[in-house]
Amino acid sequence: MIEYITRAEFVMLMVKIVMIFGGVMGALAYLTWLERKMMARIQMRPGPTRVGPYGLLQPIADGLKFLFKEDVIPTQANKFLYIAAPVISLIPALLSFSVIPFGPNLQVTDLNVGLLFIFAITSLGVYGIVLGGWASNSKYPLMGAMRSSAQMISYELSLTLSVIGVLMIANTLSLSQIVASQNSTWFGVIPRWNIFLQPIAFIVYVISAIAETNRLPFDLAESEQELVAGWHTEYSSLKFAMFMLSEYANMITVSALATIMFLGGWSGPMFGPDWLQMILPTVWFVLKISLFIFAYVLIRSTVPRFRYDQLMRFGWKVLLPLSLANIVVTSFVVAIS
């Protein structure tokens, strides 16, 4: 056992884990800043400006505030589930980063069922919401939790089915190989990205991803005007911070998955000296993920909310048949060519 720990691969693995985990946590903190700033500018107000230049130290101030707030547990709440729910929500959200390729060799583990692993882990994240709402022993969280988890498991279907077209094209479930299959170009100039081959699947995936992460316009389960705050009404201080972190981590995970499936992951034009070429794939990957994050925040600031029955009807009667039709058409085309 000792010689396993000191082997080079193990040390490399630990370094990769620390780098990816640190990067993700930093990105999560500054994602909150980005969202507040961007939403504020769209609504013609400045946003956080006081704490540091352009409000850049605001996430640190928020973290300290969460640490020092009083940790309230409602008296009739189910103590064990109440404390366990944010943890159950956070662990799957962070675990899915272990199979995402941030660069040609920058992946913690390359499972050969990596795509299904991410779907399995995100489907376990539903429990955090359900248990958090139920354990709070109060009506707003319970309703919010029920609605939110029903919405999540409904849109998981179209999410999973919409990437099967990509699976048929790439012929593999491993994420790094899906990225590698998009690494070349047509006619030397158009990159071989799956978004050109599967446009409908891309649209279905993006809409299902927004619904899956409980963001506007699909956030009736946690909306301020309707349900106080949904399933995290009774939570305070660090547990609330964990719920928020898990929501943003889910956002980054589905955006990363969207770039891997449809926008070619870390592939992009390579130029410059050797040291630049080592970090350039990761830069391209982060840029593409930021595209999706910008779209998320933009949509949040501009689009009104769906009513709950409209939401469920849309998921089951529009997105699901569309993704099934996409599978049929894609399998036809792949079988012919």
Binding site: L111, L124, V126, Y127
Partner: protein, 163 residues
């Protein structure tokens, strides 16, 4: 190394299953069952059936158990389901007999000729299972789709308030 993993997940599975038995409130039982399902999924990975392991988490722990948890929360009953105490003297007889039965089972199964791994190692990935499903087992595959349709119709009919 792999034995440590096996014992850990086996102990987790058995402990979670016994916890389902012991808990009074059925919601804690359902949560322990989720833990047992993920432990069994880890054992599947040790047996090189990684596609099945992930499918088990997605389908069993992620969908079926969500259904169970929903229904338990919907029919929110307090814990007072104590039947008549007919099992009073059975408890004294049950435990020794149960232990004897367990000993019988372990003794019988220890004599199974379990050797090393097979000559042809299978890779439990999606391609192998898919190939087998669509060639050798095509008829059962199509019949299961019919089965799911029937289950869907049955569930809707039974749970409706007014037909």
């Amino acid at each position: 190394m792999i034995e440590i993993l096996f014992f850990f997940f086996a102990a987790l599975a058995i402990g979670a299953a016994i916890n389902v038995l012991v808990q009074k409130h059925v919601l804690y039982g359902a949560l322990s069952l989720i833990l047992m399902l993920t432990a069994v999924s880890a054992l599947f990975i040790l047996l090189r059936a990684d596609f099945l392991a992930v499918i088990q988490v997605i389908v069993y722990a992620g969908a079926i158990m969500v259904l169970f948890v929903f229904v338990i929360m919907l029919l929110n009953l307090p814990v007072d389901e104590d039947g008549p105490d007919r099992l009073r003297w059975l408890k004294f007889l049950g435990i020794p007999l149960g232990l004897f039965f367990l000993f019988l089972v372990v003794a019988t199964l220890s004599n199974v000729e379990g050797g090393a791994a097979a000559q042809a190692r299978i890779t439990g990935d999606a391609e192998a299972i898919g190939r087998s499903l669509f060639t050798d087992y095509l008829l059962p595959f199509e019949i299961t789709s019919l089965l799911i349709l029937i289950a869907l119709m049955g569930a809707v009919v039974f749970a409706k308030k007014d037909l």
